[in-house]
């Protein structure tokens, strides 16, 4: 099974989506990256085929611009499973990623015989994981338009705070369980209803933490706390 992990955050570095995909990636320890020349990665998950044709590999892509290049499009078209991880922007899909999805719709739809499954993990700044529902629904609608098979969507509230916790920490339990489920569904090509998780800390603490964070950051930038409320 050939899997593409697609980071849809526009941030070049340090995105929560990258951490989420890294955490998912660790749940497929036997799968290797395919070499650039398409040759076998000798991960042996498929047995002894070293032709590179079995495609039992897992590759990572980063869509940070509103276009996808032709090589990436061709590689993605050869995958069995696409896994998107992206931030919630204004209750929906970030605009640059929306452009990429539209481009993929045009490219993939004519290849109608292709059985391709799609999974998505959306993380947001607000506490409630459920606020990611509309973005997941849009991904599901995209699948229907593009004639791909929808698998499972996971909505993560307070994404930054959850992704930053070390994997074995007790506060990471809900996150880890949701990621285990996601990895299982992907491995078995299964479908399931959207799942949503909130941070393991109470909402009031998360809210205060947020306020403190913005105050710290604006001061680091040499501005005053009151500048947070500036009006133009």
């Amino acid at each position: 099974m050939k899997i593409a992990l697609i980071n849809g955050s526009p941030k070049a570095n340090g995105s929560v989506s990258a951490l989420i995909l890294q955490s998912l990636r660790e749940r497929f320890p036997d799968h290797q990256e395919q070499r650039d020349d398409g040759a076998c990665c000798t991960c042996s998950t498929c047995g002894s085929d070293t032709s590179g044709a079995c495609g039992t590999c897992i590759n990572t892509y980063h869509f940070s611009k509103p276009q996808i290049n032709q090589q990436d499009l061709a590689e993605l078209a050869a995958c069995d499973t696409l896994v998107f991880a992206f931030p919630l922007y204004v209750d929906g899909i970030p605009s640059h990623l929306l452009s990429c999805l539209s481009q993929m719709e045009g490219y993939l739809k004519p290849l109608a015989s292709k059985e391709m499954r799609v999974y998505a993990i959306v993380n947001c700044g607000f506490y409630e994981g459920r606020q990611n529902q509309h973005a997941l629904d849009m991904m599901q609608n995209w699948c229907a338009k593009t004639r791909l098979i929808w698998g499972h969507g996971l909505g993560i509230g307070g994404g930054g705070s959850q992704a930053a916790i070390p994997e074995t920490h007790p506060l990471k339990k809900g996150f880890s369980a949701a990621m285990n489920n996601m990895a299982n569904y992907i491995s078995n090509g299964r479908a399931a209803d959207h799942a949503f998780i909130d941070p393991a800390i109470p909402r009031i603490l998360y809210k205060i933490g947020g306020a403190m964070g913005w105050r710290q950051q604006i001061k680091v930038n040499g501005l005053k706390v009151r500048d947070l409320s500036l009006r133009k």
Binding site: I93, L98, M138, K232
Partner: protein, 170 residues
Amino acid sequence: MKLLIHDLEESQAKALLPASASTDNTIVISDDGTIRNCVGCFGCWIKTPAACVIRDNYGDLGETLAKCDDELVIISECFYGGFSPFVKNVMDRAISYVHPDFVIRNKEMHHKRRYRNHFDLTVWFYGADISENEKATALELVQANADNFDCTVRKVGFIKDISEIEELIK
């Protein structure tokens, strides 16, 4: 002040939108082909508060939203139950309209207001084959947007052909 955000080409907009769409009391935001996408830096909250750090023609959208104290009308092709890439780009680039601090509104977390203006939201989605699922998503999405803008939904409509808009927004 009214605000109109649309993704129509210039010739279409000229033909279909009423002349009042570009008078003194309506600001129109349309696609001049140069908009850049949000890079998620939060600079509009903590580096140059209330303005986007990207200084293209769309760098002051938060301030523009703040001038709207009547109706915000959005005309957008429907993409998967949401807005088109251009309209979505405008929304993404406009988050300085709100303050970074959190508040609890309707039992959910949202942002505090930065400005005091209030507007009603009307959205026209167009597209030849908008599915029932897409319509259901779009209705929920617009309500969620309204919760975040702290505004009221006046109307959400779906039209098959953009030419129908002429009758609808006279």
